[in-house]
C-alpha cells in the first residue's frame, strides 16, 4: 500500500502509543480504520471544543454544536490532510459551526447576538446578583455572553482553548492585528464590567 495511512499501525486507545501519538498520526490511524485512535483524539479535544461552545451558547445549543463539530470531523475524516494543524482544523470546524448557529439565531433575534455589554456593565445595575454573592463563574459567563460575537469568540479561543493569535487569525480569517484588537477590547470590557470584589459598593 502506498498511501500514507498504511504506515500507521493500529494501537489500542489509552495505550502509551495512543497517548504519545501526534494528532495527525491519530487522524491517519482513524482514516485507516482504527476507531481507538479517534477515541484518543476525542479525549484530547472534547473539553476544549465543548467549552468553546458552552461559553458562547446556551446548554442545549452547546451540546448540539459540539456534536455537530465531531460529526463533521467523522464524516470528513477521509479528506483530512495531515499538516500538523489538527487543532486549528478542528477549531475551524467549530468556528463555522458557531457562525452558522449565530446566523440562524439572528433570524429569530437579531439584536441579541450582538448585544453590547453596556447594558449589564455596571454591577450596580444588578444589585441582587451582588447581594447574593453570585458565583464568579456564573457572572463571568454572563459577561462573556454579552460580548460582541467576534470578541467573544477570540477571547474564548485564546484564554480558554489556548490557541495562539496566529491560529485564531487563521481560523477566523482575520489579521493577527485584528485578533489582538478584539482581545484587547474584550478584556477591557470585562475589566470595566467586573471590578474586583469589595469595590462595587
Amino acid at each position: 500500500v502506498t498511501g500514507p495511512e498504511t504506515h500507521i499501525a493500529a494501537a489500542p486507545a489509552g495505550s502509551a502509543a495512543a497517548d504519545d501519538a501526534s494528532d495527525d498520526a491519530l487522524m491517519l490511524r482513524y482514516r485507516c480504520g482504527d476507531a481507538n485512535a479517534f477515541d484518543a483524539l476525542y479525549g484530547r479535544y472534547r473539553m476544549p471544543i465543548y467549552r468553546f461552545f458552552r461559553r458562547q451558547l446556551p446548554g442545549p445549543d452547546a451540546d448540539e454544536c459540539h456534536q455537530e463539530v465531531w460529526l463533521k470531523l467523522i464524516n470528513g475524516h477521509r479528506q483530512y490532510q495531515p499538516r500538523g494543524e489538527f487543532r486549528a482544523y478542528l477549531f475551524t470546524i467549530a468556528h463555522h459551526t458557531l457562525t452558522d448557529r449565530h446566523r440562524r439565531q439572528m433570524k429569530h433575534a437579531a439584536a441579541e447576538a450582538d448585544a453590547d455589554i453596556d447594558g449589564i456593565a455596571d454591577p450596580h445595575s444588578d444589585p441582587a446578583a451582588t447581594a447574593d454573592g453570585e458565583a464568579d463563574a456564573e457572572r463571568l459567563q454572563r459577561l462573556i455572553a454579552a460580548l460582541p460575537v467576534a470578541q467573544r469568540e477570540a477571547l474564548v479561543m485564546k484564554e480558554m482553548a489556548g490557541l495562539s493569535i496566529a491560529e485564531i487569525a487563521r481560523i477566523t480569517q482575520t489579521s493577527e492585528e485584528g485578533v489582538k484588537s478584539r482581545l484587547r477590547y474584550a478584556m477591557q470590557k470585562l475589566r470595566q464590567a467586573w471590578p474586583p470584589a469589595g469595590t462595587t459598593g
Binding site: 476507531a35 473539553m47 467549552r51 451540546d63 456534536q67 465531531w70 460529526l71 467523522i74
Partner: protein
C-alpha cells in the same frame, strides 16, 4: 468621571481559564459510536469490519488488466438473447468522469485467455466469494456481491480488501462503471456509490453511502 479599580489581566485570564464544564456522557457515547460506525460499518461481520483499502499498485494493475480484457471482449455481443429481461442500463453520471468501460450483471462469453486469468485467481476468490449473493459483478479488480440486505465489495486479488454497504431497500438492477481510478456502482441506472483511488487507497464515497 467615576473611575473604578479594575481587575488585572492575569486575574481575568485565571478566571477565564477556570472552567469545569464537560460534555454529557451520553453525548460522548453518541459521538464515539458514530466515529466507530464510520470506520467499521454496521451489521457486518468482524472479517469485513476493516477499512476499505486496496494498494494502489494492485488497483492500477487490476485496472490495466480490466482494460486488456475489455479490448479483447469488445467485438463480442453483450446483450443476451431475446425473451430475457432487459439488461440494466448504465448511464454516465455527469458528476464523475466518463467511465472507460461498463460491466453489467450478465454472463458474457469469455475467451480462453480470460478464462485462464480468471481461473488463476479462483483460489483467492474462494475467500472473497459472497454467501447468498443474488448478484455478483466483477470489475476493475473488484468483486461486488449484491443481496437483498447489503452490498459487499472485495478485491479479486484475494487480499484483505473488502467492505460492505448496507442497503435499505431492494437493490434493483445493479451495474458497474469502471475507469482508471474510479468505479461507480449504479442501481437502476443511477450512481449510488463511487469508489475512488485517492492518496494511494481505494475509498468508498462516504457521501454516497449515506444516501441509499
Amino acid at each position: 468621571m467615576n473611575e473604578r479599580p479594575t481587575r488585572s489581566d492575569e486575574e481575568l485570564q485565571r478566571l477565564l481559564a477556570h472552567d469545569s464544564s464537560e460534555p454529557p456522557t451520553a453525548l460522548d457515547d453518541r459521538i464515539r459510536a458514530a466515529a466507530r460506525e464510520a470506520v467499521t460499518g454496521v451489521g457486518t461481520s468482524a472479517r469485513r469490519r476493516r477499512r476499505w483499502q486496496i494498494p494502489a499498485g494492485i488497483g492500477i494493475a487490476a485496472t490495466v488488466l480490466l482494460a486488456v480484457l475489455v479490448v479483447e471482449r469488445a467485438p463480442e455481443p453483450t446483450l443476451p438473447a431475446g425473451g430475457q429481461a432487459s439488461p440494466p442500463v448504465t448511464t454516465s453520471p455527469s458528476s464523475i468522469p466518463t467511465p472507460q468501460v461498463t460491466t453489467q450483471y450478465r454472463a458474457q462469453p469469455m475467451r480462453e485467455a480470460d478464462a485462464a486469468r480468471e481461473a488463476s485467481a479462483a483460489e483467492a476468490l474462494q475467500d472473497t466469494a459472497c454467501e447468498n449473493a443474488a448478484t455478483t459483478l466483477d470489475a476493475g479488480g473488484l468483486r461486488v456481491c449484491v443481496s437483498a440486505g447489503h452490498l459487499e465489495i472485495s478485491s479479486l486479488s484475494g487480499g484483505e480488501c473488502h467492505d460492505s454497504l448496507r442497503l435499505i431497500r431492494d437493490p434493483g438492477q445493479v451495474s458497474i462503471a469502471a475507469a482508471a481510478n474510479h468505479i461507480a456502482i449504479l442501481i437502476d441506472g443511477r450512481v449510488r456509490w463511487q469508489i475512488r483511488c485517492a492518496d494511494g487507497a481505494w475509498q468508498i464515497d462516504a457521501e454516497a453511502t449515506s444516501h441509499q
